[in-house]
Subunit: 207 residues, 2 copies
DNA sequence: TTATTAAAATGAACAGTGTTTATTAAATTT
DNA sequence: AAATTTAATAAACACTGTTCATTTTAATAA
């Protein structure tokens, strides 16, 4: 039955067209402009049609979140390649912040928005990519601890969380323009200083 | 002219009624339920009337943000009273996280939402309360450094930012339910561990 | 006290949001 | 060619922030 196959293919293609248009709007005009109606318009279908291919907007946002992790992983490739675990942690942190600052809308989808997580809950999936990143960071922390025992924090998972909270906090404060207020036009310098300080604190013998 | 005075007073009273209703809705039902139309309904006026007392929703959110800082300051009173600067930093951090976890909607208004900041920009004011809190933390860090010279980070403002980013990051990750995913039902323990680790790193001789 | 003027409040509209459902159009099968 | 299944849609629902012409209310002047 070639027809069923073609239909299946066409269905998949339209699904991907919708996601493509959603992605394009997200990148060109940001989260708030990415409405179902707008996506439908760009894809040249009616808004109701979107609901034949996706349960709701949350599902679309979830798919975009997955895409976002793809982009972020690419952004971090060089950091992952670093051999020395401490240096790797530093590079990962810098790449993380850099990505966060450059791609606010993707970042929000991945680490802030409730909506894509709603969809996860329904599917009883887990936050695959995000969790993967955390586990990788934990493993790298464990490696760093193994290589040089004397660390202020010994639990790798607590180290990983501390690092994560730190970079996430910096990115969020920058996004919310709360850093401009603290010290105008100095966001970049403040972040660099904080990143440096964190490495200094966590890995005192690796300057 | 007693009439002009009474009118001025009535104007102020309605302004405060609007803010009161906005606050009530925010606390009972959260940010997204706090619409202009809803506030108007609760205050028993038409939506258009709101715009005779406030420029736009951003201005209302800005006023609520100020209220939020009032609440937070009250929440932190005990921490501020602590004499030892290092202990004070720890207590401030704990109170900050506690407030953030308990009052998501207030917290968002103060540290995440763009909307109240839009209003600040128009008024050319600064982010008074937030900045004040940061400066206070910086000063406390300076005090801690002065009391015990050997700290991994010496610049008080970078110390303050590092602490802030850390607690802000933790609160944000918890709000976004990204911590549940990393380790289910362990949010409290993870945060406690991270807070402990941070103090351990930043003030190595004060355990 | 009544007529006039100034101030305050509002209804209705605009342009937008996510989502559902009954209906229409198209494609496939009989 | 007719019947049936599948796909697409228009229209509606209940919302959002905001604006403006109109009406209602209150204060002042005649």
């Amino acid at each position: 039955m070639g027809i069923t196959e073609r239909k299946e293919r066409e269905k998949q293609e339209l699904k991907e067209l919708i996601l493509l248009k959603a992605k394009e709007i997200l990148m060109r005009e940001g989260q708030e402009k990415m409405s179902i109606r707008r996506i439908a318009q760009e894809a040249e279908y009616s808004p109701a049609t979107i609901y034949l291919y996706f349960q709701d907007k949350d599902e679309i946002l979830h798919e975009l979140m997955e895409m976002g992790f793809g982009l972020m992983n690419k952004h971090m490739d060089a950091a992952f390649a670093e051999e020395n675990p401490v240096m790797r942690i530093r590079k990962i942190g810098e790449a993380y912040v850099d990505f966060g600052l450059k791609h606010k809308d993707w970042y929000d989808l991945m680490f802030v928005s409730q909506q894509p997580m709603n969809h996860i809950e329904r599917c009883k999936e887990q936050w695959g990519h995000g969790l993967g990143l955390f586990e990788y960071l934990s493993a790298t922390c464990a490696e760093a601890v193994a290589g040089h025992g004397d660390m202020p924090i010994s639990e790798p998972r607590i180290m990983a969380l501390t690092l994560w909270a730190h970079v996430h906090g910096l990115v969020m404060l920058a996004h919310a323009q709360r850093l401009d207020v603290v010290e105008k036009e100095q966001t970049q310098r403040l972040i660099a200083g904080a990143m440096d300080g964190m490495m200094h604190m966590m890995f005192p013998y690796h300057n």
